[in-house]
């Protein structure tokens, strides 16, 4: 849909209600000059923060499709919305039913694509006035790379082989390459979108500021999968390693009935539920991960995986590679859709932009470096894994890395070490993922996209307790009752679509607001975003089971119905106007 549809049949109110005539005229002037002549780019670094933000809002307002900030409450008010001031009534619209309908559609569309101004974003975080907001640019290349590695490793690699290898055979190594390259391309696009918004947030807030409310809601639908379902997936993996550890150390395991989802032959995956409960308690108490804690976790994770590689390589049998790609390229893509799960978290690098020294250089380097490290480790783990045992043995293997080492060495202690490392690192990943989920819903609650209870902060603990409990209950249910492969695939599809939207967003923003100051620009535009889009589409269409895509589509429709029945009326952007 073009700007014409959005603008509606009437002149557009782009200035706030109290704006002077001169101001409106000036804004109008911008409209009539889509080439942007008259307000050239300013060197971003030289500007003060306040001027920067103002310039940003003005720039976007001038460039992007106009917005309407009135809530959709009744048709009466609707009719008046797009008029520049209430003095001009909508006589024509009210008397002519077709005109009114056209009007309604135009207005709803305008509201759906309204954007949150950066000034509003800063006032919400309180840094506009308090002065605490502007963060010192203190993160260098090494730390940023570690953030990327720390956020990525641990989500999937400990458990993904047993679901991915049966799909692709030893060629799963290529699936890691494919998924990794797509993840890297999307992370670069993500970094540009993040850098185009001078306030730091999640991809939901970036989409809200640049692409409009309904897109933000769609991104949020994906994020609920990327975070909520991912946390369920990691906690199921955690339960496998807990069981492996119990078996190795005490010779007792939690019975199948209490350690498997119903589809896997149990009733409930109790350890996974307990892990989510533990994370819930910690988050309510205000736990958080410091940069130092992240560094420690990165070291533990890498040590565990390097230990696996070092010990596992002694069981290397080249003839396990004899049947390299039993399922052909289709199998490789299917596995790529599955292992994409293990690359989520790489986008965390992009959201740190505001604190990064020299982001133009550091950002792409850190993304690429983190990706290279992560991919190298993953490929080594996968190669050692498939070399150690025939690929047919992976199916249904629980706590895979532990089991492989036990087989290679013929005793249980290496598996025990791996299990301990996995339990620690998966725990930290689950905690931080649930944390992210609560904070995204918190932001949505403040914007009026979900009920305000999500934005309620307990005065004593200073954490959003209700929000945390709701999130944890839902995640615990998913973890307790849904099999792990499905959780992986749902996370993958959510993440892929979110990245797809981000990549499309980069292209749209380059066209609609070419002069907008950006902290970081994608190298090789437009090739990188286009490749990123194609890569995402390819993995989604070819690499995921139809059932996953159908469930995802239903989920997005549900979220959009929610948006058009609740969000659009309760949006803070609407009620403020």
């Amino acid at each position: 849909m073009g700007a014409g549809t959005l603008a509606g049949p009437a002149p557009v109110n782009r200035a706030p209600a109290g704006a002077s005539v001169a101001e409106r005229l000036r804004n109008f002037g911008h409209l009539s000059r889509p080439d942007g002549a008259g307000h050239g780019t300013r060197p971003r670094e030289r500007m003060t923060r306040a001027a920067d933000l103002q310039g940003y809002d003005a720039e976007l307002t001038a460039r992007l499709p106009p917005v309407c900030n009135r809530p959709v409450t009744d048709r009466h008010r609707l009719g008046k919305c797009p008029i520049g001031g209430s003095s001009r009534s909508t006589a024509s619209g009210e008397s002519d039913p077709t005109g009114e309908r056209k009007y309604f559609v135009a207005t709803v569309l305008q509201q759906a694509f309204r954007r949150k101004s950066v000034a509003a974003m800063t006032s919400q975080t309180g840094d506009g006035e308090k002065g605490s907001g502007e963060l010192a640019r203190s993160i260098g290349l090494f730390e940023l790379t570690m953030i990327g590695v720390g956020a990525t490793i641990g989500t999937g690699i400990f458990t993904i082989l047993s679901t991915a290898v049966p799909l692709a055979g030893p060629a799963v190594i290529l699936s890691f390459v494919l998924a990794g390259v797509v993840a890297g391309l999307t992370a670069l696009c993500y970094a540009e979108l993040a850098g185009a918004v001078p306030v730091s947030g999640s991809s939901y807030s970036y989409a809200y500021a640049t692409l409009g409310e309904v897109v933000a809601m769609g991104v949020a639908a994906c994020l609920l999968l990327e975070y909520g379902v991912a946390a369920a997936g990691t906690s199921v993996g955690w339960s496998q390693y807990l069981n492996a550890l119990l078996g190795n150390v005490f010779g007792v395991q939690i019975p199948e009935i209490l350690a498997q989802s119903p589809e896997g032959g149990g009733i409930i995956n109790l350890p996974a539920v307990i892990l989510v409960g533990l994370c819930c308690l910690l988050l309510i108490r205000g736990a958080s991960e410091s940069t130092k804690a992240n560094a420690v976790m990165v070291v533990i994770k890498l040590l565990v995986l390097v230990f696996f590689i070092a010990v596992g390589i002694t069981g290397w049998q080249t003839n396990n590679f004899a049947d390299f790609a039993p399922m052909g390229f289709a199998g490789i893509t299917l596995a790529a859709g599955n292992v994409f799960f293990s690359f989520i978290g790489l986008d965390a690098v992009s959201t740190a932009g505001e604190e990064v020294k020299n982001p133009r250089r550091t950002m792409p380097l850190a993304i690429v470096l983190a990706l290279v490290i992560v991919m190298a480790v993953y490929i080594a783990v996968a190669a050692v894994g498939v070399a150690a045992q025939p690929w047919q043995k992976f199916e249904g293997q629980e706590a895979g890395l532990s089991a492989i080492l036990a087989e290679v060495v013929g005793s249980s202690w290496p598996g025990t070490l791996i299990a301990i490392g996995a339990i620690i690192s998966i725990f930290s990943v689950t905690l931080i993922t649930i944390y992210g989920q609560t904070r995204i819903l918190f932001a949505m609650g403040r914007d009026g996209m979900v009920p305000p209870v999500f934005a309620k902060v307990n005065p004593r603990t200073q954490t959003p307790i209700t929000n945390t409990i709701i999130v944890c209950v839902v995640i615990a249910l998913l973890a307790g009752f849904i099999p792990i492969e499905f959780l992986y695939e749902m996370t993958s599809v959510g993440t892929l679509v979110a990245f797809l939207v981000v990549s499309v967003g980069v292209i749209i923003l380059r066209r609609t607001a070419p002069d907008l100051p950006r902290g970081f620009k994608v190298p090789g535009y437009p090739v990188v975003p286009i490749l990123s889009i194609l890569g995402c589409i390819y993995i989604i269409v070819v690499g995921l089971r139809p059932i996953t895509i159908i469930v995802f589509a239903i989920w997005v429709v549900v979220v959009l119905i929610w948006y058009f029945t609740y969000g659009i009326r309760h949006s803070r952007l609407g009620t403020r106007a």
């Binding site: 919400q124 975080t125 309180g126 840094d127 308090k130 605490s132 907001g133 963060l135 993160i139 953030i147 720390g150 956020a151 306030v199 730091s200 947030g201 999640s202 991809s203 807030s205 205000g286 958080s288 991960e289 410091s290 940069t291 992240n294 978290g345 986008d347 965390a348 992009s350 959201t351 740190a352 505001e354 604190e355 931080i432 993922t433 944390y435 992210g436 904070r439 995204i440 918190f442 932001a443 403040r446 934005a455 309620k456 902060v457 005065p459 004593r460 200073q462 954490t463 959003p464």
Partner: protein
């Protein structure tokens, strides 16, 4: 009414005495300076205990003599040696005997200069004292003519916090000091690995501040309704990544004291410092008074009657 000063036997004594003197002048009370010695054992064969006891008594007397010299500012004071099994028990006993309004203590020498640090006696009293406990920061000094200019009350926003604010307002009015209602929003940095940007926790603090501001307004209104409110009255919110920076962020003069309530989980009649209060106390650059909820209720009632 009177204030009980628990007299340590070393260089910490001066801090406790100066705080006791400052508060006594402000509230127009007198002081009881107490030093505690262990009680005598049942007479034994060797009579060696009596000798030891004599030595302890002499030590105590010397400490009290030194205290007489250290206390300045024309405050009336009584000097007492208490025999009790523990210093905390001895202080509480004297406080109850004299119907004292407060127990005043110094900081442990293990703490940082200029900050409050709990010693063993303070740890115990902060969980059991029936009356408010005042703690001087380590190395605290107050000149003979210093007055308390501002009383800050740490305000959490719960129902009993308003009562505390009213109670402290009454005391501040009696001391002729200004009242400041302060709340502290403390959240660590947003972990960057979560991928939600660097401001997620700032948003939490802002939403919290929004709610607590309303509670502060209610408390301010309750204070304004007092027959003799302190003046001026203000409210502020401190923010920080940790308690130290949150407390620092609201600024402190040299002549203020901080009042905190005891935890809502502890017994009603006694001081019980919760994890939150204890963090506030430990990072306070000014003397702290911990008020048990029972005392707060009584003081609030008294404030409502004061003319």
């Amino acid at each position: 009414m009177t204030l009980v000063v628990g007299l340590p036997r070393d260089e910490r004594a001066t801090a406790a005495l100066h705080l006791g003197g400052l508060l006594a002048r402000a509230l127009d009370e007198d002081l009881v300076v107490v030093t505690v010695v262990p009680p005598a054992w049942p007479p034994g064969v060797g009579r060696i205990d009596a000798e030891y006891q004599e030595y302890l008594d002499q030590e105590a007397a010397e400490a009290l003599d030194a205290a007489r010299e250290a206390l300045h500012g024309g405050v009336a004071a009584d000097y007492v040696v208490s025999r009790a099994r523990s210093a905390a028990a001895g202080l509480v006993e004297i406080a109850q005997e004299r119907a004292a309004a407060m127990i005043v203590l110094g900081s442990s020498t293990a703490g940082v200069l200029g900050r409050v640090a709990f010693g063993s006696v303070a740890e115990r009293l902060l969980h059991t004292a029936p009356v408010p406990v005042a703690m001087a920061p380590r190395g605290f000094r107050a000149a003979a003519d210093t007055v308390v200019e501002q009383v800050t009350v740490a305000f959490g926003g719960a129902a009993h916090d308003t009562e505390l604010a009213v109670a402290v307002a009454g005391v501040a009015a009696r001391a002729g000091a200004a009242l400041r209602i302060a709340s502290f929003g403390v959240r660590p940095r947003t972990p960057l690995t979560a991928g939600v940007g660097s401001h997620a926790e700032d948003g939490i603090v802002e939403e919290w501040a929004h709610d607590v501001e309303r509670a502060q307004q209610a408390a301010l209104a309750a204070v304004a309704e007092l027959p003799a409110p302190p003046a001026p009255v203000s409210a502020t919110i401190g923010r920080g990544r940790d308690w130290a920076s949150a407390l620092e962020s609201i600024g402190w003069g040299d002549t203020g004291v901080l009042a905190v309530g005891s935890s809502s989980e502890g017994p009603l009649e006694r001081v019980f410092v919760g994890s939150r209060s204890s963090r506030i106390v430990r990072h306070s650059p000014v003397p702290v008074i911990v008020v048990p909820r029972g005392s707060a209720a009584a003081l609030a009632a008294q404030a409502a009657e004061d003319r």
